[in-house]
């Protein structure tokens, strides 16, 4: 039988960076074989070297990076030995790349038509008019609306999702054999991401292109790829077909990764997340032997810490490899017994009651500073009503621009509400900005922030920043007691006590976020708002921080208001979910009510857009058309009407929909509410988004937590 030449083959590839501190190996002993029409995923956390691999394939490692040893064969030719001119002819024609940030990847000063036309002009010698013709056709193929308008636009004039489609069109213009996608959807909203993912799958088939898909998200890899490489700290630790790696993983890190992400089966009560302990080693502090050793549950002293571990084939002919000495000894089927489920917490009294909250901004456009300006109103929050009880977790979910951050600001008193009530305990907060609130009230309502790199002041020590809160809220006054309280808080967030003397710079992202949590809980709050507290962290660290936050909340019976865009996390930890779109609540209800029909059409699309890293689950595909409307110019009627697949013309786009109460809670205080014109019958007839594979449509589709 003829051996088919792989499109791309990396053989024992080692890549290093030269820095002042010496040589830093970024990728060690990397092997990859990509056959024609195959899509290969590379997954790993930040710093694992996955982007370096992509740039090495493009032979673009910057001034400091270089291929130390090994080969990169493209169609059998070694790219490391090619001249600049040979490389130039390959790049953009045979191998093309799609980048993480579409906005930054397009030249801001050139029209899109010119940027696209360059590719055929310089690779195929096409004249300009033909090249533009070709570009226009390609824009149609990537399903951009109104391609001729987009051709004449500058990049900043179109939205992020459209920009990414343009970048993909640019990559496809000369029929590449290999398409590299480096986190192509990370910068986009979930519903936009779903569209791009669908497009990528379609073009791979249509253009007969092999794909390398780099991502930190296992769910995305499952949706797009045939094979998968898991990377950890510069090494490929497991390689295999998607099915093999997802269902019969053979490396402890891969398993750790799956245990840290909230899958539909996970539940905070019965099956909590299992974080990987410790943190990623820095490139120059990697341990000897297995790099994952210090964080591994199966670590064996004297064996795993001796010499570099080699990749080993798991079963003959299955093409499944793992880099673990003990992979054949571990009982992979055994249930991880270390898990202790939590008891359900009974929620108490209503702590926060929000009624018809509105926050409008006046935006002045192009005004002269003395003359009257044209002003318009942005309705950042409109008709927000819900409540939260003691010890309960309420999640607010929505994409960018849905008004969730504005809501947090109003609640914290950084802005005042335009109208409506916020009843917090027995205090009305709506018109009270933080300057007018009593120290006592302020200390009862604290916040955990999103960006770990921003949350702590880089100029002060950890101890200083926590003790300031303690003193400010009058929890303790005497220096010795303040000190003791700081230590206690560090213990609670599971950080070593000597961290009090450190500065934020010396901490990793996860550790900073823990300090942020300690700071929020320093004043014994009765309610904590967490604004995407883990979205900027790596997967394995995310789980640990999420679990920590929930443990503290449980122990202190704190109400947690969890703001997030990630439905899988929310499903895992929330009791009550509020779904927002363009400043309004589309749907709210208990977690199980949100995740099963009847859905609001937006919730349905949102659920379908979330990539799920579970091979046993089948998703109903709903890909939203169009882009998020600007909040400056929201649609008349239902805010979702421009993208809704159930839209009733003349009704949805004209009139504001009514709030339908689908069911009521036992105490009749709140229930499952949907803001929609659709009839109850239509809503009730919706099919569930998630189904177990093999179950038929008629079965009850709601997945019960695996117990």
């Amino acid at each position: 039988m003829d051996e088919v030449t792989p499109v791309l083959e990396c053989r024992d590839l080692c890549i290093s960076y030269k820095t002042r501190a010496g040589e830093i190996p970024a990728v060690i002993d990397f092997n990859l074989k990509l056959m024609p029409n195959e899509s290969h995923g590379i997954v790993g956390e930040s710093g694992c070297g996955k982007s370096t691999v992509a740039l090495a394939i493009m032979q673009y490692l910057g001034a400091n990076g270089y291929v130390k040893s090994g080969q990169i064969l493209f169609n059998g030719h070694d790219m490391t030995a090619m001249s600049q001119e040979e490389l130039r002819k390959l790049r953009g024609s045979q191998i093309a790349m799609v980048y993480q940030e579409p906005m930054a990847s397009l030249n801001p000063a050139m029209k899109i038509s010119d940027q696209l036309a360059e590719v055929p002009m310089f690779h195929d010698g096409t004249n300009e008019a033909d090249a533009k013709m070709k570009a226009l056709q390609m824009l149609e193929k990537v399903k951009l609306p109104d391609p001729s308008r987009i051709m004449n636009s500058y990049p900043h004039q179109i939205s992020g999702g459209q920009q990414q489609r343009v970048v993909i069109a640019m990559a496809l213009l000369s029929n590449p054999k290999l398409l590299l996608l480096d986190e192509p959807t990370t910068a986009l909203d979930v519903t936009v991401e779903a569209g791009i993912v669908e497009l990528i799958r379609d073009v791979a088939i249509e253009f007969n292109t092999s794909l390398i898909f780099i991502s930190h998200n296992l769910g995305l890899i499952l949706e797009t790829c045939d094979r998968l490489t898991v990377m950890y700290s510069g090494q490929a630790v497991e390689i295999g077909d998607i099915g093999d790696v997802f269902d019969t993983m053979r490396h402890p890190y891969t398993r750790g990764l799956f245990n840290s992400i909230p899958l539909p089966g996970a539940d905070k009560k019965s099956k909590p997340l299992l974080p990987i302990r410790g943190q990623l080693p820095l490139p120059h502090e990697r341990p000897t032997g297995c790099y994952f050793g210090p964080r591994c549950d199966f670590f064996e002293e004297g064996r795993c810490d001796q010499e570099l571990v080699e990749l080993e084939e798991m079963a003959e002919g299955k093409n499944h490899f793992a880099r673990c000495l003990k992979s054949r000894e571990i009982d992979w089927a055994a249930e991880q017994a270390t898990v202790i489920g939590r008891d359900a917490v009974l929620p108490g009294e209503v702590v926060l009651d929000i009624k018809d909250l509105q926050k409008h901004y006046r935006v002045e456009r192009g005004g002269l500073f003395l003359f009257g300006a044209e002003a318009s109103t942005v309705k950042a929050n409109e008709g927000i009503s819900f409540h939260a009880r003691e010890a309960e977790t309420v999640a607010i979910v929505g994409e960018s621009g849905c008004g969730k951050s504005t809501f947090a600001k109003v609640l914290m008193g950084l802005e005042d509400a335009t109208s409506g009530n916020i009843q917090f305990g027995d205090i009305e907060l709506g018109s009270l900005t933080v300057q007018d609130r009593k120290a006592d009230t302020i200390s009862k309502l604290q916040m955990v922030f999103q960006n770990p790199f921003d949350t702590l002041n880089p100029s002060h020590t950890i101890g200083h920043q926590i003790s300031r809160v303690i003193r400010k809220f009058g929890v303790e006054k005497e220096p010795a007691k303040v000190e003791a309280r700081v230590m206690e808080l560090l213990d609670i967030v599971k950080l070593p006590r000597d961290f009090a003397k450190r500065r934020p710079r010396q901490l990793s992202g996860g550790q900073k976020q823990r300090v942020g949590i300690a700071r929020a809980f320093a004043g014994n709050p009765s309610m904590v708002i967490a604004d995407e507290p883990v979205s900027a962290l790596d997967v394995s660290v995310q789980a640990a921080v999420t679990e920590l936050l929930m443990d503290i909340q449980r122990d202190h019976r704190t109400t947690l208001l969890f703001i997030s865009h990630d439905l899988s996390v929310v499903r895992y930890l929330a009791d009550h979910i509020v779904v927002m779109y363009l400043g309004q609540i589309m749907e709210q209800g208990r977690t199980d009510e949100i995740f099963s029909p009847p859905y609001h059409p937006y919730t349905e699309a949102l659920l379908s857009a979330v990539p799920v890293a579970d091979t046993s689950i089948e998703k109903r595909k709903i890909v939203l058309q169009g882009e998020l409307p600007s909040s400056l110019n929201p649609p008349k009627g239902c805010p979702f009407s421009t993208r809704c697949q159930y839209k009733i013309d003349g009704l949805c786009d004209m009139e504001v929909p009514p709030v339908r109460t689908v069911s009521m809670d036992v105490d009749r205080l709140r229930g499952h509410q949907i803001l929609c014109h659709l009839s109850e019958e239509t809503l009730n007839n919706m099919l569930p988004v998630f189904r177990s594979k093999g179950s038929s449509d008629k079965e009850e589709g709601q997945l019960e937590p695996a117990e």
Binding site: R20, A21, M447, P458, H460
Partner: protein, 335 residues
Amino acid sequence: MPVADLEFPRSSMFERLAKPKPMLILFAIMWVPLTLYVMFGLDDVVLLPAIPATIALYFICLWAFRESTVALVGLSLVFFWLIMAVSAPYLPLLDPNKPIAPFATPWTEKKETFFVLGSDFKGRDLLSRMIWGCQRVLIWGVSATAVAYVVGTVFGLIAGYLSGWWDEVISFISNVFLSFPVMVLFIVVLNYLGPSGFNIVIAVTFASAPAIMRIVRGLTLDIKTRDYVFAAQTRGEHPLYIMLVELLPNVRGPLIVDACLRLGYTTVAITTLTFLGLGLQPPDPDWGLMIRESARVAMLWKFSYMLLVPALSVSSLILGFNLLADGLREISLRD
């Protein structure tokens, strides 16, 4: 760039300055006596402790900036003049103000006195005038820059953090001053106040503070959107606390480089103003004054050394400040 993939623990420029506290103490031991000596005419004795402090500070700085050759060269130039300034009374020099023998060319003997760099048209020794001449430029230059920084930073923090009405007013006033070409502003202010060191401080403040205010305002606008400032706001901290404790420590880093550059500009400005007759006044030696006094007399190739000596001196000091700024920028970009 791919390097960002590899995250290193980074240390700030401040931590690079090995031990900031001893450095500040040494700086004070050097600076306070020099100021007292130059501004208020105290006795030579006050300078005695400043000499070892300056030398010690020089070596500490050399160690702290060892990574950047450019910074080391700049540092050495600046410290050469600093050491000259503090030790001038103790160096074996002729009296800088005493006329001995006019028009002695460099490296010649005239009237039983050996002139290393020659003498000027009044017969004063150029070497000792050159060395003594750095004192006033350094003292007034640094003082003026420091005052401009205090004023600029205070207004910048207020305009940036409080925004709104405060920002409108402060920004407008600073725009008014920024619309004057610097030299025009100097001429107007010094003509009004009269030429003297203290008035130079005021003039430099008027000219530099608006620019510094703009920088601080910009940095503040950026930093105030950080979550730790939100955290302080949601704790109900007073705006003054936020400005001083949360914002100020984080704006000072980028300002250090700018301060070095601005020290250079101020030195240029003082020398130029003195040359124009609007700055420091005779008889005490000063580089600008040396140029002013000999500009007409020395228009011959033979006597051009009278102009070259002060011109090269002032250039070397400014080059020192600029190279130091460049080196610091290089180091801070690596951080």
